[in-house]
């Protein structure tokens, strides 16, 4: 009991440790309620006020926002940072595994994403499987542990994948990631459809066995429960609308195929991911209320991306599809704002529509829009401060708050560098003195450095 009391006190203390923050004289891009020239108050983890004039509460940190811009934290609907493993590629239905089990809170990609304005990310399983693993929504609370970074109450998800990636393992000459031996079904888009249908065929039967058992026990009958099936459980959750489907796809034929499969089994595809030919079937996507999460201008890296166009987000938006831009990459994740700017050029979205692609729209897709995605009183204080308009290539993020707590400050980052350099030097000298050989790579955070270059310690290894 006493321990509990202390725990409560401590959490209150931690909460109280963040003084209110008032940003004045700024241009505030609320996304949902236009632009406000004035102030925004962050208090108790929430946005407490937005207006021409807001009084500073006692103890508030006041920031002069003259010439600066404030916008909601960026939400990335497709990322693999923090994930210590991406693909369980040995089977084409891997719904039994999940990214929530392999989260590394010390991945430096989190901090780098923060510095680029990302405050929430949907962390997905890879695309090697027709039905991949479970997914999770995380806040970029750098410095906290993985449990504390989870977006409280966010719906869990599951990754599906169509097209080249899931069929690659079925084709021994399939190129990157192909299985050298033991070709794995499927090897075609037809096979991908079948794998998904077979899985939901099983899931429906499995659900029926549990429904029967529950009905019997509800009637007071003695019944033997069915054996749990960890692969089918998440699919039953999909059928029951308790788990969101995020489906990797490229070509219009496979997109339509998945929409039909979902229709037939009575579930929804929450988001089509990448969906580079989504613009060709925007009508069919819109009719089902399915969302689209795409790239601004990636194309031609494989044949299924050959008809990708940078106008995709604009067409989908114009045709009424809830659309977002995602990164799928630790580097791209750092400039989703600049990616959004491209949709103004390609297809003529308005500035607010462009910014919605990385804020309120992904929030709606992940069903977290009551909490995040726009600057509204009562929403989480996930807020970015820019030194210019966020859609300008000449602007940058200078401060980031999540739940009203400051997680990134450009000036502090720069100030801390000389000290970090000294610390690194001292550590290297110590190691050298102990005559230890060590190198980088394999380090936990290094895994997400998509540059692929591990962390070398040039001074630590013998010079040539």
């Amino acid at each position: 009991m006493r321990r509990l009391a202390i725990f409560v006190l401590m959490s209150v203390a931690a909460f109280a440790a963040d003084p209110p923050v008032l940003i004045q004289n700024a241009t505030i891009l609320t996304i949902t309620n236009g632009t406000v020239k004035g102030s925004i108050l962050l208090q108790n983890g929430k946005i407490a006020a937005i207006g021409d004039r807001v009084m500073a509460p006692p103890g508030a940190t006041v920031i002069d926002g003259a010439g600066k811009y404030v916008m909601p934290g960026i939400i990335d609907c497709h990322s693999h940072i923090m994930a210590e493993a991406i693909n369980e590629g040995s089977v084409s239905v891997s719904s039994m595994v999940g990214i929530p089990d392999v989260l590394n809170p010390e991945d430096i990609a989190i901090y780098r994403a923060l510095a680029g304005g990302v405050t929430t990310a949907n962390i997905l399983h890879g695309s090697a499987n027709s039905i991949g693993g479970k997914t999770i929504v995380m806040k970029m609370r750098w410095g906290k542990d993985a449990e504390e970074m989870k977006f409280e109450g966010a719906m869990p998800g599951i990754k599906f994948a169509l097209g080249e990636n899931p069929k690659r393992a079925g084709n021994p000459a399939g190129g990157r990631g192909a299985a050298p031996t033991n070709a794995r079904y499927p090897a075609t888009r037809m096979g991908v459809e079948d794998v998904i249908r077979e899985a939901f065929n099983d899931a429906v039967a499995y659900k029926a066995s549990w429904d029967l058992y529950r009905a019997k026990t509800a009637r007071g009958e003695v019944a033997i429960p069915p054996a749990r099936d960890l692969k089918l459980e998440p699919l039953v959750e999909v059928l029951e609308g308790k788990r969101l489907v995020h489906a990797h796809c490229y070509r219009q034929d496979e997109i339509l195929m998945l929409l039909h499969v979902a229709d037939d089994y009575g579930f929804k595809i929450r988001t089509l991911q990448h969906v580079l030919e989504g613009y060709k079937v925007a009508k069919e996507i819109q009719e089902r209320g399915t969302g689209a999460s795409t790239f601004a201008d990636w194309w031609a890296y494989k044949i299924e991306a050959n008809d990708a166009i940078p106008y995709n987000a604009a067409i989908l938006t114009r045709k009424g599809v809830l659309t977002s831009l995602n990164s799928d990459d630790a580097e791209l994740m750092r400039h989703l704002d600049k990616e959004a700017a491209k949709t103004v050029k390609y297809g003529g979205l308005t500035e607010t529509e462009a910014l919605s692609l990385i804020t309120i729209n992904p929030a709606k897709q992940l069903m977290i829009d009551k909490r995040v995605g726009s600057l509204e009183v009562g929403k989480d204080a996930d807020v970015l401060l820019y030194d210019g308009h966020p859609l300008s290539n000449f602007s940058k993020v200078t401060k980031v708050w999540i739940d009203g707590h400051e997680y990134f400050d450009l000036d502090q980052d720069v100030e801390a560098r000389p000290k970090k350099e000294l610390e690194k030097k001292a550590l290297i000298q110590k190691a050298a003195a102990e005559n230890r050989s060590f190198g980088g790579g394999g380090g936990r955070g290094a895994a997400n450095n998509t540059g692929g270059e591990p962390n070398a310690a040039p001074q630590g290894v013998p010079q040539q």
Partner: protein, 433 residues
Amino acid sequence: MKAALLFAIPAALIAAPGADDSFVLKNATVHTMAGAEIQNGSVVVRNGKIIGVGKNLSVPKDLKVIDAKGMQVYPGMIDAATQVGLIEINSIRESEDTTELGKFNPQLVALTAVNPSSEHIPVTRVNGITTVAATPEGSLIGGQVSLVHLDGWTTDEMGIKPHAGLQLRFPTIALPGGRGGGIDADPSSPFAAARSYTTLKQAYDKEIAELNEFFESAHRYKLTKDAKAPGFKPDLRLDAMIPVIEGKEPVLVEARRERDIRDAIAFADKQKIKIILLDPAEAYKVTKEIKDHNIPVILGPSLALPLTEDGNYDQAYKTPLALQKAGIEFCFATLTGGSNLASRNLPYQAGQAVAFGLSKEDAMKAVTKNAADIWGVGDQIGTVEEGKWADLVVTDGDPLEAQTQIKLLFIKGKPVDLDNKQKDLYEKYLNRP
């Protein structure tokens, strides 16, 4: 009737070249990149070349006048190393012509494999990129970099300088990339031996020795050739090395880390060759040596992650400014790791450097004038000046901003269609019932 009309259109276009590469662009703000911008300026173009730039110019009566009131005029941008034209679809081996077999291929010329019909060409140029340095890849010497215009019926028409420089990926103590890559700290790891520093260092030393030997053999070859001995048979590989060892043609040296950059400079000193550094991510640590040796730098993408886990998050954003402050001549390239997707985003790579302190003027110069000078074609392209090709980008704003629209585009004075496959698909599917 319809068929006749369709036939008539291309026929008209064929008649056009030569006729419409002469004109006057009037009333624009001209950013020459060779001095102050000119308000209400004109650019006079005849037969594809600029014959006058300035205010209140006397305009030959026979020239067509294009009123560019309220518009900005810039020289076409130059992607200083890319594989546009050499790869169509990255994952399809058959559509890729960047990397030949073998370690030493100085005789290969990129221009040979630039596909004038590549979809990447119209997609790239509509963002204001009018010239690229088509760059082969290879380990160690991949071939000759070719400067090409992004317009032309044939490679002959596109080529500006087929032998612009020799691509060399400098040996490095290669840390295997990717997950779990790197030198193995754990001696019990099954990969420990293959990844040990000693093994990697041996491989590196071997490559350095091979490289030196190849250059030495070029010197010996030159002596034999110059001696005009009877029965002399030309060697195409070594012949291609002569302009390099004579210091007439630069070597484009890809060296990313500090140690590799220092080694590359030492190698250039030893072999007495001219080099250009490509994608030297850690150039900011070696600015003094680079400046002292007067070595130009072609930076890789500034939208790039730090090389090391503990690197500053904004290092790649700030490196251009560090080079500018050190007085090093630099430009930008989108090439790294074989990606040809990003060439159209060249201006945004420069824009990111502006967000972190580089002036807009210096950033714009980097993607135009500097790139032309570094590749030795500054007498032909890179600025809006008399005597140069009329590679002109007419915009409604700063080309380094993503929202800016390109309104008109000229390559060698010829108006270039702003349509491409992607725009066609856009219009087709936007109007799908």
